[in-house]
Subunit: 344 residues, 2 copies
Amino acid sequence: MSKEKITSIAELGEFGLIDRLTEKIKIRNKSTIKGVGDDAAILEFGEKQVVVSTDLLTEGIHFNLMYVPLQHLGYKAVAVNVSDICAMNAVPRQMTVSIALSSKFSVEAVEEIYKGIYTACERYGVDLVGGDTTSSLTGLTICITVIGEVEKGKAVLRSGAKPNDLLCVTGDLGGAYMGLQLLERENEVFKVNPKVQPQLDGYDYILQRQLRPEARVDMIGIFRKTGVQPTSMIDISDGLSSEILHLCKNSGVGCNLYEEKVPLDFQTKKMAEELNINPLVAALNGGEDYELLFTVAQTDFDKIKNDPDITIIGHMTEASEGTNLITTGGSKIPLIAQGWNHGK
Amino acid sequence: MSKEKITSIAELGEFGLIDRLTEKIKIRNKSTIKGVGDDAAILEFGEKQVVVSTDLLTEGIHFNLMYVPLQHLGYKAVAVNVSDICAMNAVPRQMTVSIALSSKFSVEAVEEIYKGIYTACERYGVDLVGGDTTSSLTGLTICITVIGEVEKGKAVLRSGAKPNDLLCVTGDLGGAYMGLQLLERENEVFKVNPKVQPQLDGYDYILQRQLRPEARVDMIGIFRKTGVQPTSMIDISDGLSSEILHLCKNSGVGCNLYEEKVPLDFQTKKMAEELNINPLVAALNGGEDYELLFTVAQTDFDKIKNDPDITIIGHMTEASEGTNLITTGGSKIPLIAQGWNHGK
């Protein structure tokens, strides 16, 4: 096998690096008047609202390059921000990406990150319209800002839930957390004996949930098609408990969440059993699932009841009733936020 | 004197820190429908174009906390991005700020940075509408994205300059670079003998140019009022030479820059003499002046000729004539880019 070429960043120079990174950009939206190559990007929207979200990811805090492939890292950095746009009921359109990296990274390494970024751009129909590439003394930092559009009056905040609204979630929960536990376990084994092959077989789904999560852009289309207008919405970055409490606090309501309704995948449950973790705890406190948590008026029940991707997990109540988890055994216990990561 | 209270970030918690940092936000623009406190910001523009610019600043590369006060750092981080918006002939409106910091920073330190950020928001009429605060293993990183608005057809790119257009610059050049030289000299002295008082007297202007530069938002108003529509524009972050070459390359033209016309402040010249540096070199290659470099058609000459803040430093030519510096002695030498910093 031939050795892959390693180019130092110094060799290319900063402008050279930027040219190399941006030459593959494709513009997909009519609203992108001017993308990279000037001091700023120009976007044009008719009677639409513009939605902006930004995230900063740092090495050793948000990701561990010991087990996160750079391409997945780039993809995930985009997906996480696109997920925030979806949580507003908006469609992602443009994005800026800034990356700071130390001299330990080669041009090829940066290109790997961008490969993931461009794959995500393609997947989500987003235009990369600007950014900054710079050096750092140590480690890798990625800052992404995504801009989305939404028709006036259609944006969904965290604050619109009413008592008796149905509490819904897309997909399943806890998988990203169990995927991380698996990766960390194998990383520990590797540190002790680098010759041991990692045991990842049969866990592709939860690994993908952790390493290459998807934003639920598809749901925004489904909401449009079925005429569902959520009353409040948030994406699940910190864990179900924490996000429910955000909706309740911002909307001034309480809620009953039913343990038995929380959607869990088979692999999540299997891994949890193997590691002696309660899978419900992974769902409640795990985070990074990037599913959408939203409320709808009961009158919208018929529009969502047959969607296999939407689970009704509870309902909102008067604030005075508190925020409760109703266990499978029928006990009512207060819901506690215990975000485990640095999300939002 | 009473000791100032030091609160650890762990003590406040992430949400507590964010609350503390955002409680002073004032919304100034009607177009800000929803600022911080949700997954993303909502902005609304009628028949306007939206302009977005982003910058990532890292400790040890873009700033040295040995001599940069945190408040100035926050201010400058905003000014630098606002400057990019101005360079599009747009008015800055909204901003997102993301900060990653290691445990060596106290809450008070972060608040100092934000104090500078809020001062700049006030100065430039910008709304802080979102962001992210997170930890890093080492050092401080700031990522800022500014969004501006401009009427359709009024945005100015780097690519519109024509032969015979006048090449103009606002303010004076080289000051930020000479201010940095002064700070670095005093820092070296301090490292050898911490008891020596820094010798900064009489250099307040160039220190301010380096530590607390201003974006030329005022010029955008003047362009509107006087009916000047620049044919191309860029802000001076990397040094005059480099920026002129950007305009020429993007517009497909050449230029003649006249040495004797390059505006230099008295303090810039004095410091340059003291340090035995040619002040023209500071202007050409120094960078970080954040003045606007732009071209106008000769028919606009009357509109700019009496503005004391605008200097005509040359004119554009056919591309075949090259990019030249005409020295005071009358020699024609090729203009060379020699950006010294990491800007753009």
